[in-house]
Symmetry: C2
Subunit: 203 residues, 2 copies
């Protein structure tokens, strides 16, 4: 393993590209590594070696493996917002989640990237696997821990399924009248679904 690193580092070690080029080189190496090994088994060390940079530079640019994945696949998700959502008043969790989701989707830059990822994952099983591992680690498991309910992981995946279905019907299929419903009306139609999935009875 160390010889692999050594070889690749040496191979490109003599180059001193500018910051933009370096960042791009890391993203390209990351996409290759994530595609080959999935999210869980992808190695920052291998990515660094492949890009011809020090591993510390990856952390400098992207913070964490998760940050690198988000940048590499263009996933518009900031898991930092999850604690804020889940640790407030338990009785209004559905309302808050519905409002955040609907408002985010109304931002064209956000919804375009999200639709891009969903489209790509639908046709590329490898990306679907990465996305599954990534969502499990950075959304399902942390959110479930904060929820502190029975069957917490199931609750998160149920709520997430309604979010994905919304992306599909409102943006990709664009089926009416859902496609042109106002964000406010949509948030209030979705809120009780999220509320029950996250805090209500499931059986």
């Amino acid at each position: 393993m160390s010889s692999e690193r050594g070889d690749k580092t040496h191979r490109r070690g003599g180059r001193r590209p500018g910051a933009t080029t370096t960042r791009e080189a890391i993203l390209e190496a990351a996409r290759r590594q994530f595609a080959q090994r999935g999210y869980d088994r992808a190695s920052l060390r291998v990515i660094a070696a492949d890009a011809g940079v020090d591993q510390k530079l990856i952390l400098h640019f992207f913070g964490t493996k998760q940050g690198l994945f988000i940048a590499a696949v263009g996933l518009p998700l900031d898991p930092g917002t999850i604690p804020t959502l889940l640790t407030g008043d338990p009785d209004t969790i559905g309302q808050r989640l519905a409002r955040v989701v609907v408002e985010l989707f109304e931002r064209p830059d956000y919804s375009e990237r999200l639709i891009g990822v969903v489209r790509a994952a639908a046709s590329e099983p490898e990306l679907a696997r990465m996305l599954r591992e990534f969502l499990t680690r950075t959304l399902v498991q942390p959110a479930a821990a904060l929820l502190a309910e029975d069957e917490a992981e199931l609750r998160v995946t149920l709520a997430h399924s309604q979010v994905i279905g919304l992306i599909w019907n409102r943006y990709i299929l664009a089926i009416e009248p859902l496609a042109s419903m106002s964000p406010e009306a949509l948030a209030s139609a979705l809120a009780p679904t999220f509320q029950r999935y996250l805090r209500g009875p499931l059986r």
Copy 2:
């Protein structure tokens, strides 16, 4: 327009292929026509002419334009089940829909075709448009008419968004624990969502 029909009929009029070949020729012509003009504007007359058959033969094989579309794109939906679902006891509509959806998805032949259509629609905007028109005509509008509720079409598209999200998270993304949840538990988790979308308060 009649000359177009005449030309194409004459062009292939001399051939007498067997039933399987004829059926395939109709399906190929249908896929071309649906892709070019969408579901609403596709013409059975043009499809018949392109396949070199009489329009009556299409109806003999596929019943209706809708039946032809289902066969052409491989959509595993029998709109005949909708009235049975929607016209029973209004208080158990969510339960019945959840059970039917979950049981259908457990049939591998059914879920594989459904996943195929969802995957394809994600990457082919033309298929997404066909699917939107088809679902609007054969699912949303008839189901809304049977529901006889305010905002009935919106209700149907909301319920449908949860169905699509389920296909996504359980089958395409295969995210746990949703992916391996028992059909019974899944149906009871989904039933209240369908019940409220179809019959409950939306605001």
